[in-house]
């Protein structure tokens, strides 16, 4: 039976559009925002949506649109660093675990499981307790907590590649492990890693929002979606808008990265299409 | 007496016809072989008879079992016939058995479901004995992974025979097994289907020669040739059947008139 070569991938498109939207908003915020997102002005406190303030203002008179735009920057920044840390540590560890002697591989995976017992939020709170909470402690904590997912994916992917004919041939020809890892393993597991990055990015966005909400993430005055939610809480009964706007922003970013990950997975492995 | 009567059966997905205008009849106690290469539509035909085709496939034509029309029959009624009036043995006994259920329970379930036996548990042990599973009482408590391939297929057979179906469909039941085990399973099928109609699907001509009286040859979704095994195998009419025979291990008939086979390697 023949399968159509060009398959429709609405998931991938939707994910790319949502992620693209967040990236675009963050980029635009570097050159233009409607107002200064940090400018406090008692005269315009808690305004509803108007022509000047599209989503209105918060209890300090700060413009919501501008805060969301700059907040997108924070979100992406945290995601990129956290996923970067996780990929840079986790991938080599996973490949090493798959290619090294059994006992070493087992040991690496045991340590990996141990790290899994420290979720991102807990690590970030510990880091905050020790070093004082900041965007940095949040990013690094989320990154370290994400290492195990990358190590696992990299390990299982590497094991698959290592058992293929061409790698067995390369090994028989006496190629060093490092050469095999670089030339055969990495290109073949790159797809898996990209999918994992997208999914981890979504988790990182959620974690950053939760941390900022708890006061363990981005410090004021830098705008952050999570902190906007936290500040909205006391005024929820009268101004639900203050919670809904950043809430939607978080949901759009998370949904975007999740859909992008799913879409990429389907694209890379057609057998899995339609699942998850 | 005709047990199964299929007339003008077609199976299609979208505009593509996978099974085209297939007709066949099997009487009580008759054993009919359905041969053809993979993808020729044999298994689809069997699934269509059982009413177990994937939802996205369209079926047309007529399938009658003991005079009752099965196509278009509500699922609720059809499910009362499956496992009771008609049953099926599949190719891969490892994957066809539930890995997390003791085999005795899996055999008992088919009797419990149709309320055909007062004591399904004991009856299951008897059935496992009938298909010559060693130590059936213990075997009933085993999980599929603890049995050998041949033993699993015996369990499948016990399950299919449990309610004395009038129609038994075997879909390549020996393909996944060792040659020595194949012969034992075939003997079992022969010994236990005396009164039933048997539709035996395979691509192995030697197996057809051992088991069946009549044979249908399927090619590209159509039945291209049919008749007594002896006639078809000695004087094949269709080009495909001729090729099939030429490439097979069949040599000639033995002194009893049954086709002789050379051993597989």
């Amino acid at each position: 039976m023949t399968t159509a070569v060009k398959r429709r991938t609405p998931t991938l498109t939707a994910g790319a559009v949502l992620v693209g939207l967040v990236v675009l908003v963050a980029l635009v915020s570097f050159i233009w925002t409607p107002h200064d997102p940090t400018r406090v002005d008692a005269a315009v406190r808690l305004l509803g949506p108007t022509g000047d303030f599209l989503f209105g203002t918060d209890k300090f008179g700060r413009d919501l649109v501008s805060q969301i735009m700059v907040g997108a920057r924070t979100t992406l920044y945290v995601g990129v660093v956290a996923v970067g840390v996780a990929a840079l540590i986790g991938t080599p560890l996973g490949i090493l675990a798959a290619m090294s002697p059994r006992w070493l591989g087992e040991f690496i995976m045991r340590v990996n499981d141990l790290v899994l017992a420290f979720p991102a939020l807990l690590l970030a709170i510990m880091f905050g307790a020790v070093f004082g909470a900041s965007t940095w402690t949040a990013m690094v904590a989320i990154g370290i907590a994400t290492v195990p997912s990358f190590a696992r994916i990299a390990r299982s992917g590497t094991m698959q590649v290592m058992s293929t004919e061409y790698v067995l041939a390369a090994r028989a020809a006496g190629r060093s492990r490092l050469v095999i890892a670089r030339r055969h393993v990495l290109p073949n597991i790159a797809g898996l890693l990209i999918v994992q990055s997208s999914v981890s990015f979504a988790i990182a966005v959620l974690a950053e929002a939760a941390l900022s909400f708890l006061g363990f993430g981005t410090r004021p005055p830098t705008p952050s979606w999570g902190r906007m939610l936290q500040e909205s809480q006391e005024l929820l009964a009268v101004q639900p808008r203050l919670a809904i706007v950043p809430g939607i922003a978080i949901a759009v970013a998370v949904l975007g990265f999740n859909l992008l990950g799913d879409g990429l997975r389907d694209r890379l492995d057609p057998r899995l299409a339609g699942r998850r | 007496m005709t047990v199964l009567a299929v007339r003008g059966l077609s199976v299609s997905v979208g505009d593509t016809e996978l099974v085209k205008d297939v007709s066949l009849e099997i009487g009580a106690g008759e054993r009919v072989g359905l041969i053809g290469e993979s993808g020729s539509g044999k298994s689809l035909t069997a699934s269509a008879v059982m009413g177990l085709l994937p939802e996205e496939l369209d079926v047309s034509g007529s399938v009658e079992l003991d005079g009752r029309q099965l196509l278009g029959m509500p699922e609720r009624e059809l499910s009362r016939l499956r496992g009771r009036a008609m049953s099926m043995v599949f190719q891969e006994p490892m994957t066809a058995l539930n890995p997390s259920m003791q085999v005795g329970k899996q055999v008992a379930e088919v009797m419990r479901l149709h309320r055909t036996n007062q004591d399904p548990r004991a009856a299951a042990v008897d059935l496992l004995d009938r298909v010559r599973l060693p130590d059936p009482r213990r075997a009933a408590k085993a999980y599929p992974h603890q049995l050998s391939g041949g033993q699993r297929q015996r369990v499948m057979l016990a399950m299919a025979l449990a309610n004395n179906p009038s129609l038994l469909i075997c879909d390549e039941p020996t393909t996944a097994l060792d040659v020595t085990v194949q012969a034992q399973i075939l003997d079992l099928i022969l010994a236990n289907t005396q009164g039933s109609a048997l539709l035996f699907i395979t691509h192995d001509l030697a197996v057809v020669a051992t088991v069946c009286e009549r044979v249908l040859v399927m090619y590209d979704g159509q039945i291209v040739e049919s008749g007594l095994v002896l006639d078809v195998f000695t004087a094949p009419q269709h080009r495909y059947t001729q090729q099939l025979l030429a490439s097979s291990d069949l040599e000639s008939t033995d002194e009893n008139g049954r086709l002789k086979t050379v051993s597989h390697d």
């Binding site: 045991r110 499981d113 141990l114 899994l116 017992a117 420290f118 979720p119 991102a120 939020l121 807990l122 709170i125 510990m126 307790a129 020790v130 959620l206 929002a209 909400f213 708890l214 939610l229 809480q233 929820l236 009964a237 639900p240 919670a243 809430g247 978080i250 949901a251 759009v252 998370v254 949904l255 999740n258 699942r275 998850r276 | 059982m50 177990l52 939802e55 996205e56 699922e75 609720r76 009362r80 499956r82 496992g83 009771r84 099926m88 599949f90 891969e92 994957t95 066809a96 058995l97 539930n98 890995p99 997390s100 259920m101 379930e109 088919v110 479901l113 999980y143 992974h145 499948m156 399950m159």
Partner: protein, 314 residues
Amino acid sequence: MILALMRRTGIFVVSVAAASVAVFLFMAVLPGDPAQVALGINATPELVARTRAEFGTDRPLATQYFDWIGGVLTGDFGRSYVTRDLIGPQLADRLGVTLWLVGAAMVIALLIAVPLGSFAAVRHRKLSGTVISGVSQLGVAVPAFLAGILLVQVFAVQWRLLPSGGWTPPDQDFGEFLRGLILPALALGLVQGAVLTRYVRSAVLDTLREDYLRTARAKGLRPGQALVRHGLRNAAVPVVTVLGLQLTTLLIGAVVVERVFVLPGLGSMLLDSVAARDLLTVQGIVLVLVIAALLVNFLVDLLYTAIDPRLRRS
């Protein structure tokens, strides 16, 4: 079987030991002296030294560790540097609240995910299945605390059906306890339910393609019966894995939800202790949370063997 059990138990014990060392060392490298922090900057050097001796932080690290972990093994987590109260009893109290919350959330998540996920799998080609997949995808994108905020807004503020927060112990007034538990458990459970629905769907979808489900149909089971009697148990293996990981997420997710609903659980105790720089308490809570996560993984391993007979050999 017994050997495998002993091996798993061994791994669990070693992991707990390693985790406790990690937690201890992490807190020990902390810049700043707990005695100094507790007394404030105006304390005399003599007083600081005396307090240090009282806390035991003037001893070698190894001694401090074994003293601490020895106490923990008997339920003694030491005395808080700030309030000078025993940490253990309070920890037990707070853990109880968190376990109620996490347990209720888990039940809600399962009640949502198993039927919806299975339904979405069976109907994956139909509109209803696609809609469920879409909604669960959306649910995953909502942070638990946002769900909490919205639930409070609707059920507590506007409709005044349920309390917006606070905690009544179950032995004091069970009705009130339940009323207080509903919203936080929903906030946590709805989101986890969405995550779980996706996994249940994909696990059931895999199972539906299995040959033994076709066998079950051939026996005369109707599609739903076949799935329930033969499919779900086998689909449970991958779902249980995720469930284990999720319990860890739930435990820590409870921190955030406890803050939203002002619940006196382990999470709010952790945040309060961090704010008060009450480090021995932080250390104790972190250890409890990490052991809980490891314990869950250990139990999940055992559960596999119960579900899947194929894993029982060797």
